[in-house]
Amino acid sequence: MIAEQPVYERPIGLTAAYTHYCPGCTHGIAHRLTAEVLEELGILGRTIGVASVGCSVFAYNYIACDFVGAAHGRAPAVATGLKRVLPDRIIFTYQGDGDLASIGLGEVLHAAARGECITVIFINNAIYGMTGGQMAPTSPAGMVTTSSPTGRDPRQTGHPVRVCELIAQMDGAAYVARRSLHNPAEIRRAKKALRAAFECQMNGRGFALVELLSTCPTNWGMTPVDALRWVEERMLPVFPLGEFKNVP
């Protein structure tokens, strides 16, 4: 008899709860990568996550570390409060583009400027998922959303915000990378970046941010497969992948 050989298990960093994410949503992949990295680095038991307001508001039900829920956009400030009183713990935020790049841009910029030793996981799906598909600060020109029904017109609504490029300019930022979740090769690179961002914090090097290009098939009005293709065709030209900063 051949013994069963498990090749793919639930990381101990993920709870057994079913997620509420839509089919094809890449929030789930980002959760899994985060949980794997926390487990592999051996820091799950001393990590505190800060969930934001967006579709990932219930991240605390899925990632099996201590967690607090922050107000919309304020996760980096909450993380600052936590890190300043618990300097030997690992603190990370998990934020969407509406949360981080719109209402919370001030908090994330200043956390980076201060060099807060925290890790920010930034899910850029170019849309406000939770509130039903409104234009985000990261929506590419021409993108149709419920609040840009004829397509985002930069003359009226401005241009997408490139967060990594912005944060990399802050002297307090030590690690800044943009990765994507649209194919397995990129997912592996995304995991490496997350690992680097947590190691950056473990080594006390300063602020770390990883932007992950993500899908929202539901509000983009696409199949999961088309959504992955849309990331490649429409998001990559606006949001180039790469490591923007890696201060030793």
Binding site: L44, G45, R46, T47, I48, V50, A51, V57, Y60, N61, A64, C65, D66, F67, V68, G69, A70, A71, R74, A77, V78, A79, T80, G81, L82, K83, R84, V85, L86, R89, I90, G106, E107, H110, R114
Partner: protein
């Protein structure tokens, strides 16, 4: 400890340190800034956390974060900054976190001015943010009392896992007077069983104010209301002067109560039966004591440095059993004992007891 000449804002800051403040987060605004400046120097000296935040929005969320870890956290501000903090205050209330906020009131609305005022009474006592909650609110009238209540604020915050607001005005923040600081408290803060610290060796903990199911949120709200009821039962505080035989009871808090006290003393010297009732907790409002006084007094005169805010709580307590008159100054104008004395004299002249025993002020009789 010896008595020293202390500035209000700095005395509160030092009292917080001695009460075991672990972390302070703030943003400059007059007339509160000395608090931030004092702690900018003292907290790092003691190896404790201090951050000048990028805004009051950030400051209160940093307080939220530090409080989630079960640490003693505080911020301070004035009207415009407290307005910006309201979302965060509501999250603190919803997540049942202990935290202390100092509001050094200035004139409003809008940018208003930097003169002392009591115009945030409604803002702070009514809820201080969205949703159903009330913070515990303490209103000292002297620097000594501000020191003592700062220590109490941390105790109450932790006992009830509750937001506590220390409400003073710019006068008290800026003035100096002799007072005695308490000794340093033993600074041990073991992580409370609800706080986050890393889930090593135990199930992971979650701190949130999100309850998606209406029934669950109703249960949570009922729990919060029950806690408020317990607090209302146990924590009402006030101070009284000449209340036993007072025909007219002046009600005032904070700086206004000091001015009112001068006026009451002057009225007594003239032989008028006037007393002073000074709420120390504004929320819970000292209802019980006022309710007891309502049938005995001929009238009440509420004196505030605003357009009439606490007067509504006094009317609720008195519940029509005696007339309640209001005297106030607005916009940060300093109120003087003489004008309060005039208001007292006027109220005494106007006070009538009708044939059926109802007590009225003349203006009301005519109406």
């Amino acid at each position: 400890m010896a008595r020293e000449l202390l500035k209000g804002n700095e005395a509160i800051a030092e009292a917080a340190i001695r009460a075991g403040l672990d972390a302070y987060f703030g943003y400059p605004i007059t007339p509160q800034t000395e608090l931030l400046e004092y702690l900018a120097r003292r907290m790092p000296e003691l190896g404790r956390a201090f951050v000048q935040a990028e805004s009051e929005v950030a400051a209160i969320n940093m307080v939220y974060g530090a409080a989630c870890a079960g640490k003693r956290a505080m911020t301070s501000s004035s009207g415009p900054g407290i307005s910006l903090m309201q979302e965060g205050l509501s999250y603190i209330a919803g997540a049942e976190l202990p935290a202390v906020v100092v509001d050094v009131m200035r004139g409003g609305p809008g940018l208003g001015n930097i003169a002392a005022s009591q115009s945030d009474y409604f803002q702070v006592t009514r809820s201080a943010g969205h949703g159903d909650f009330r913070p515990l609110t303490l209103a000292p009238a002297t620097i000594q009392e501000a020191i003592d209540l700062t220590g109490l604020a941390f105790d109450l915050a932790e006992r009830y896992r509750m937001l506590v607001i220390l409400l003073i005005d710019g006068n008290l923040g800026q003035m100096m007077e002799p007072a005695e600081l308490p000794p340093f408290r033993q600074h041990t803060s073991p992580t409370p069983e609800w706080a986050v610290s890393g889930a090593e060796g135990r199930p992971h903990r979650i701190i949130t104010s999100l309850y998606l199911q209406p029934e669950a949120l109703e249960r949570h709200n009922l729990k919060l209301q029950k806690k408020l009821a317990v607090i209302a039962e146990r924590e009402q505080r006030f101070a009284g002067l000449y209340l036993e035989d007072a025909d007219l009871i002046v009600v005032a808090f904070g700086s206004a109560a000091r001015v009112a006290q001068n006026a009451v003393e002057a009225a007594r010297a003239q032989g008028m039966a006037v007393g002073l009732f000074r709420p120390i907790t504004l929320s819970p409002f000292p209802m019980r004591a006022l309710e007891r006084l309502a049938p005995r007094a001929r009238a009440f005169l509420v004196v505030e440095m605003n357009a009439g805010q606490m007067v509504e709580d006094v009317r609720l307590a008195v519940a029509g059993r005696a007339p309640v008159r209001f005297y106030g100054r607005l916009g940060g104008v300093e109120m003087l004992p003489d004008e309060v004395l005039q208001a007292i004299e006027q109220a005494m002249r106007d006070t009538r007891v009708t044939k059926n025993g109802a007590r009225m002020l003349d203006a009301e009789v005519q109406r």
